[in-house]
Every structure is written in structure tokens, then in C-alpha cells.
């Protein structure tokens, strides 16, 4: 039993590693075709790992990725696609920026207040999609995509019309009223690594406990593995959809908090942009497991942080975006292939065992 489990873990991590390796190879070919030197590119890219500043930046960039990947993964666990993390995050960002600036509280409470507001608004926005699925049978992929764009427009409109603060003359960047310092999330390393990193790790730990150590988590995984069987044993699928959507939305609300509470301290356009979407890639590479998510978030964070160095060597840093796309595609293809191979292997083993028994008789 123990041995089998170890085997599965090894196979899983090997296939994820293989996906990354395949992506590196394909990107090397792309670099070669476009007249860049892949060896130089990769030695620059991975040579940056020796720099402590790059590593701090990696953790900082990994922070929102871990949270958004957890938000996506909690849905994935029951085959529920929350593509709307980006929109939920955006709604939560503006709501928190406005609410946080409006109240006056002592430091730890103020931060807590902000986090709660963010989680609540994210959950409310996600609840729309949950409600649509539960009550009207609307596919959550479609509804969350649509709600993303509605959120984008709604937030842009509300921000432009009501919440822009008067900026100093000569400053072109429009922001909301700045949060008071009591709501600032403290940095671990000044301007390089924000304390939200610990919150992200905490989220992953809680994610693990919730999904693998509680009754709810069992029901969640059961619904994902075999919805019919789960329903028969008394799991209410609608309730599960609603709860996991709300949780996913609450986490989505937290995604932008490193940028808001830890960095800019006010809402502005493009704040934390794409971080909700990128979580999908991280969750896929991490196979929806907290540890996998942690490692993949570090990888993507590192690629983002170190890609700047490529510019100096006259290699477009966008190669890392291509890499991300290929990794996602490669990881799902390889997983599927490995699963088939594994199925075949087990079938073969079972057939062999049966055959020997028949022969023995």
C-alpha cells in the first residue's frame, strides 16, 4: 500500500518534471530558429539563481500565484472550473482599497479587516457563478468567463466615476485614496519580499488540511472522482458546488492583496493584472496538490523574476510566457499519456495474476 502510494507520487512528479523539460527543449528550438543562442539564454536565465535578490523576488512573485492556484485547485478537485479568479480578484481589489481607506483601525486589526473584506467580495462575485450553475444549470466555464469581463468593466467604471483620488499635480497615474499605514502588510525584506508570502503558505497548509483531512474535503474529492457515487452516498452536489465556488472566490479575493496591501497601497488600473489567470497554469503544473502548487509557483515566480535578465542579452523575455504555455500543454498531455500507460500496466498485472492462478489450478 505504502509502496504503491510512493510509486504514484514518483510517477506524478516525474511527469511534471518531464513536462518542464519538454518545454525547455521546445523553447530552445524556438530560440535557435529565431537566431538566438539557447545555451546562452538558459545559462543567463538559470544563472540568476545565485543572486539572493532574485530569490527574494521569486518568493514575492510566487505569493499571489500560490493563492490563485489554490483558488483554482479547490474547484478542480471536484471538476469545477473557476476561470473567474481574475474577475473575482479585481472586484475584491477595488472593494478592499475603498473599504480599507474608509475605516480607521489599529494595525493588525486593519489588515485583518482588509483581508476579510477581500475574501467576502471575492466570494460574493464567485457566488453569482455558483448560483447560475446550481439554480439554472449554466456551465461555470462560460459564466465565469463572462463574469470576468463584466467585473473588468464594472470595476473600471466604478473606479473612474467614484473612487479616483486627487493626485498630486504632474502625476499621471490615477489611484484611489491611499490606505493608511496601519493597513500596510509589512515587508520581510524591504521592498523585495512581502509578508503576504506567509499568508500564502498558510493558505496552502489550510488547503491541504481541508481537502485531505476533513469530511468536507473527502466529499469534495469524492464528487470529483465519481459524482454519481458521491451523490448516492448522500453528498449534495449542489451544496458542494456552491461551497467550493464560495471558497474559491474567497481565495481569489486574497490574490491581489500582496500588490494592494504590500506594495501599491491603493487601487490603480492593471494592479495585479493576470495573476488570477496565471494561477490556472500553476494549479495544472502542481497537479492541484499544495506541495506541487508551492513548487510550481516558485518555478513560475522564478521565470518571471529572472526573465528580466534575458533582456540584457538581447533575448526577448517573452520566451518565458511561451514556456509557460508549453508547460501547461505538455503537463496535461504527459499526464494523460502516463495515466493511460499506468492503466495498461495495472490491467496487464491483473491479467497476469489471473492467468497464473488459472494455470496453477
Amino acid at each position: 500500500m505504502k509502496n504503491q502510494r510512493l510509486q504514484r507520487v514518483l510517477v506524478t512528479s516525474a511527469s511534471s518534471l518531464l513536462a518542464v523539460f519538454v518545454a525547455l527543449c521546445i523553447c530552445a528550438v524556438i530560440l535557435l530558429i529565431t537566431g538566438k543562442d539557447p545555451i546562452q539564454a538558459y545559462s543567463t536565465l538559470f544563472g540568476a539563481a545565485g543572486d539572493i535578490k532574485v530569490l527574494q523576488g521569486t518568493l514575492n512573485r510566487a505569493t499571489p500565484l500560490m493563492i490563485s492556484a489554490a483558488a483554482v485547485a479547490i474547484g478542480f478537485k471536484m471538476n469545477l472550473f473557476n476561470i473567474g479568479v481574475e474577475g473575482q480578484m479585481r472586484v475584491a481589489l477595488l472593494a478592499t482599497a475603498v473599504a480599507g481607506a474608509a475605516v480607521d483601525l489599529p494595525a493588525p486589526l486593519h489588515i485583518l479587516f482588509c483581508l476579510v473584506v477581500a475574501m467576502a467580495t471575492g466570494a460574493i462575485w464567485a457566488a453569482f457563478a455558483g448560483w447560475l450553475k446550481v439554480k439554472r444549470g449554466v456551465n461555470e466555464v462560460i459564466s465565469t468567463i463572462m463574469l470576468n469581463f463584466v467585473a473588468l468593466s464594472l470595476v473600471a467604471w466604478a473606479f473612474d466615476s467614484f473612487f479616483t483620488a486627487d493626485s498630486a499635480p504632474g502625476v499621471l497615474l490615477v489611484k484611489t485614496k491611499e490606505l493608511p499605514p496601519s493597513a500596510w502588510f509589512p515587508d520581510i525584506v524591504d521592498r523585495r519580499l512581502n509578508g503576504m508570502f506567509f499568508i500564502a503558505v498558510l493558505v496552502l497548509v489550510l488547503f491541504y488540511v481541508l481537502v485531505w483531512k476533513t469530511k468536507f474535503g473527502f466529499q469534495l474529492r469524492a464528487s470529483g472522482a465519481n459524482a454519481g457515487a458521491a451523490r448516492v452516498t448522500g453528498v449534495n452536489p449542489k451544496r458542494m458546488v456552491m461551497i467550493s465556488m464560495l471558497m474559491s472566490g474567497a481565495l481569489a479575493g486574497l490574490v491581489g492583496m500582496r500588490a494592494l496591501l504590500g506594495d501599491v497601497h491603493a487601487y490603480q488600473n492593471n494592479l495585479a493584472e493576470q495573476q488570477g489567470f496565471n494561477g490556472i497554469a500553476v494549479a495544472l503544473l502542481g497537479r492541484n496538490h499544495p506541495l506541487g502548487i508551492f513548487i510550481s509557483a516558485l518555478l513560475f515566480g522564478y521565470l518571471g523574476e529572472a526573465s528580466g535578465r534575458l533582456q540584457l542579452e538581447d533575448i526577448p523575455k517573452e520566451i518565458t510566457t511561451i514556456m509557460t504555455g508549453i508547460i501547461v500543454l505538455a503537463v496535461v498531455i504527459i499526464n494523460e499519456a502516463v495515466k493511460r500507460w499506468d492503466d495498461k500496466r495495472i490491467q496487464h498485472k491483473a491479467a497476469l495474476a489471473l492467468a497464473t492462478r488459472v494455470v496453477a489450478q
Binding site: 524556438i30 469581463f149 518565458t320 504555455g325 496535461v332 494523460e336
Partner: protein
């Protein structure tokens, strides 16, 4: 039977648009917003709607064969880039051809992942969107940076040459070198009459200053209807979207059809992208698609997976944007249009014993009308969000009427279900 249904949809489209024209005409007379039915607005609607229509058809071809295509946006992005590149090197038509080719390659990639490797359709689509965004940014730096007029995020100006079309005698098109009279234009300027100038404006908008690629895109609507509902190929293709196991048991080559349909889908999305970068404008710009691939996806749903429905959706979704382009002041008149349309729908649902729905619609109508009298302008963000909100409302309210292909998005492997 299916074929008859497509045609009844075509007829319904005509009736609906006539009814809609009457509403617009009434609103025009009330509000004096003459631009809402002017030929300029109609032709600009066509221009705005073309990429949405093409993206919608891309979604239709994919879903009809049973594959959900979230990657339309990515395929469009690829299309904008290759369109921009082709237009810069050789001209617009070359750009469109190149984009269609590149788009269908990406479509085939999606098919490879979903058919050959059985990857979840949504996941593969997301990967394609990421990949397309990264690839075009990378390619721009390699090919466009440092060129005259080009840069890291945009292509040099294209050569153009896509051609425009004016109908002779009705809209003042040229016959040889002689400029024929503009009869519809003359009627259109008689603003005091009801309906007549609106119809003239509508017809003139459809027949004057039309980009040839737009004509091509519109021609693809009946062509798609014909191929999918009247040919053996189409029947088989749809069987793959409805019940691949049944098709397979009759010897239909499901997997091959899926590759073919995805190549078409990708090509259409590539065309949609190229339209943006070498017809609608003359340069590729990063982020040019701005989510229109997703509007296309919405249009597929709104159009009930039917080509004429997709056309209707594309025009409906393009109209507010076109109106905004013409003159911001006209947009509030749309609120009145919405109010009247909602009252009509409320009456219909009342006769169908759906009192609660009718009351809701009346409430919405009153809300819309009140807003019209209270505001002077509609924020552009609301115009931008309209297609998405409408699609959600359609999914909420008209779920029963929607008939998606039964097997779209479901996992399928050949030879597994015997």
C-alpha cells in the same frame, strides 16, 4: 428536418430585424437621435460585427464537432499577428491568407491535444491562449522591432488593398468611371418620415462602403449552414458533436472529422484576427483582440449554435459599439430601445403564462426607461460589458430554448465504447 429548421431561423432573423427596425424607427422619431438608423451606423456595425461573426462561426464549427474552443481568443491573436505581418510584406489579402493558415495550424494543435491526447478541452484552450499571447509578443520583438513604423508591440503599417464595395444606382457606386445616383441616400435624408428613411439607411448601410472581407464573412454564414446541414460531410460532422459513439458505430471517421472541423474553426478565428489587423486597422497591435474571441464564444451560445443565430448575435453585439464610435450621444437612445423590446418580450411571455417572468421584464423595462430620462450618457464600460451581460441573461432566462451539441466538451476516445 434539420435543414428546414435552419431556414426557419433565417426567416425569423428577417422578421426579427424588421420588428427591431420599427422599434428603432419609433425611438429615432422620439429622441431625434437620427444616427441610430443611419447608413453610417449600419455600415459601421457591419465592420465592428465582422470579427465577432467570424469568431462566433469558429466557435460554432468547433462545438458542432464536439470540441469546446476556449482558445478562439488565442487563435485570433495569432491571426492578428500573421495578418499584420502579411499585410506589411505583401498586402491585406496575403495577410488574411497567412492568418487563416496560421490560425488553422493552431486549431489543429487544439485538435491534437483534445482528440489525440484526450486533454480537457478547456485546459487546452487556456494553454493556447497563453501560448498565443507569448508567441506573438516574442515574434513582434524579433520581426517588427527596429523596422520603420514597427515596434515591440506593433507591426509596420500594412500595404492595404482589401477593396470596398458600393452598389451602383442604389448607393452611388461607380459604373466604370460614371458615378451612379445615390437613391437610398436621398430617401434616408427625409428624416421626418417614419420607417422609410430607416429602411433606406439600413439598406444603404448594407450596400455602401462595405469591405470586401466583410462580404466574404457574411457569405460564410449561409455557406456554413449549407455545409453543416445539407451535405453528407456536415451530417457526419454534427453527429460527432451529438453522439460520436453512434457515428462511430456507423463507420463515421470521428477523429478525422474533428481535425478537419478544428482546422476550419482555427482558420475562421485567424481570419477574424486578420480582419482586425489588416482591414479594420492597418497595423497589428498587441492586445488588439481585446477579448473579442470570448465575445465570439458568447455569440455562438447566443446564436444557439446556428449560423444565422450567430449572425444575429454578432450584429446585436456590434451595434452598441458602432453607435458609440459614431457619436457618444446616441447611446442613451438604446436604453429606450431596450425598454420597448423588453415590453414586447414581456407581452409575449405573458401570453405564454409566464407571469413572473413578464413582471420581471416589465420592471427591467421601467428601469431602463427611467435611466434614459435620468442620464445624459452611458459610460463606455457598460457598452463594453453588454455582450457578456446579455449572454448571461440568455443563459439564465432562455436555457430551455438553447440546444447545444449534446457531446460538446465531453471526453471521447475512439473505439472505447463498444
Amino acid at each position: 428536418m434539420k435543414f428546414l429548421q435552419t431556414f426557419s431561423v433565417a426567416r425569423r432573423t428577417i422578421f426579427l430585424s424588421l420588428g427591431f427596425m420599427m422599434v428603432l424607427s419609433v425611438v429615432r422619431l422620439i429622441t431625434n437621435a437620427n444616427d441610430i438608423t443611419s447608413s453610417g451606423t449600419i455600415s459601421s456595425t457591419l465592420r465592428v460585427a465582422t470579427p465577432i461573426l467570424l469568431a462566433g462561426l469558429a466557435g460554432l464549427w468547433a462545438e458542432r464537432v464536439g470540441i469546446v474552443n476556449i482558445g478562439i481568443e488565442g487563435m485570433m491573436i495569432i491571426g492578428t499577428w500573421f495578418g499584420g505581418y502579411g499585410a506589411w510584406k505583401w498586402g491585406s489579402w496575403a495577410g488574411i491568407a497567412l492568418a487563416i493558415f496560421a490560425g488553422s495550424l493552431v486549431g489543429l494543435l487544439h485538435a491534437l491535444a483534445t482528440v489525440r491526447f484526450n486533454v480537457n478541452h478547456v485546459v487546452s484552450g487556456i494553454a493556447i491562449n497563453i501560448l498565443a499571447a507569448g508567441a506573438t509578443e516574442y515574434l513582434s520583438i524579433i520581426f517588427f522591432k527596429g523596422q520603420k513604423g514597427g515596434g515591440e508591440s506593433q507591426s509596420p503599417t500594412g500595404k492595404g488593398g482589401y477593396g470596398e464595395f458600393d452598389m451602383p444606382f442604389l448607393t452611388g457606386g461607380r459604373v466604370g468611371s460614371w458615378r451612379s445616383p445615390d437613391i437610398l441616400g436621398w430617401i434616408e435624408r427625409k428624416h421626418d418620415l417614419p420607417l422609410l428613411p430607416d429602411l433606406a439607411g439600413f439598406a444603404r448601410g448594407l450596400l455602401s462602403d462595405v469591405y470586401v472581407p466583410t462580404l466574404l464573412a457574411i457569405a460564410l454564414v449561409p455557406l456554413t449552414g449549407y455545409i453543416l446541414w445539407r451535405t453528407r460531410f456536415g451530417l457526419r460532422l454534427r453527429s460527432s458533436g451529438e453522439s460520436p459513439q453512434a457515428g462511430e458505430s456507423l463507420g463515421v471517421p470521428i477523429n478525422r472529422l474533428r481535425y478537419q472541423a478544428m482546422a476550419v474553426s482555427g482558420g475562421l478565428a485567424g481570419f477574424a484576427g486578420a480582419y482586425l489587423s489588416c482591414v479594420f486597422t492597418s497595423t497589428y497591435r498587441q492586445g488588439q483582440t481585446g477579448g473579442q474571441g470570448y465575445i465570439g464564444l458568447a455569440t455562438t451560445i447566443f446564436g444557439n449554435w446556428n449560423p444565422f443565430g450567430v449572425l444575429r448575435g454578432a450584429i446585436l453585439f456590434g451595434f452598441p459599439t458602432a453607435l458609440k464610435f459614431r457619436d457618444e450621444k446616441n447611446v442613451p437612445a438604446l436604453l429606450l430601445v431596450v425598454a420597448i423590446v423588453l415590453v414586447v418580450v414581456a407581452i409575449i411571455s405573458f401570453t405564454r403564462q409566464k407571469q413572473i417572468l413578464a413582471m420581471g421584464l416589465l420592471f427591467g423595462s421601467a428601469l431602463s426607461a427611467t435611466t434614459y430620462f435620468l442620464v445624459d450618457e452611458v459610460p463606455q464600460e457598460f457598452v463594453a460589458a453588454t455582450p457578456y451581460i446579455v449572454t448571461i441573461l440568455v443563459l439564465v432566462g432562455a436555457q430551455q430554448q438553447l440546444r447545444p451539441p449534446a457531446h460538446a466538451g465531453a471526453a471521447y476516445r475512439a473505439g472505447e465504447n463498444h
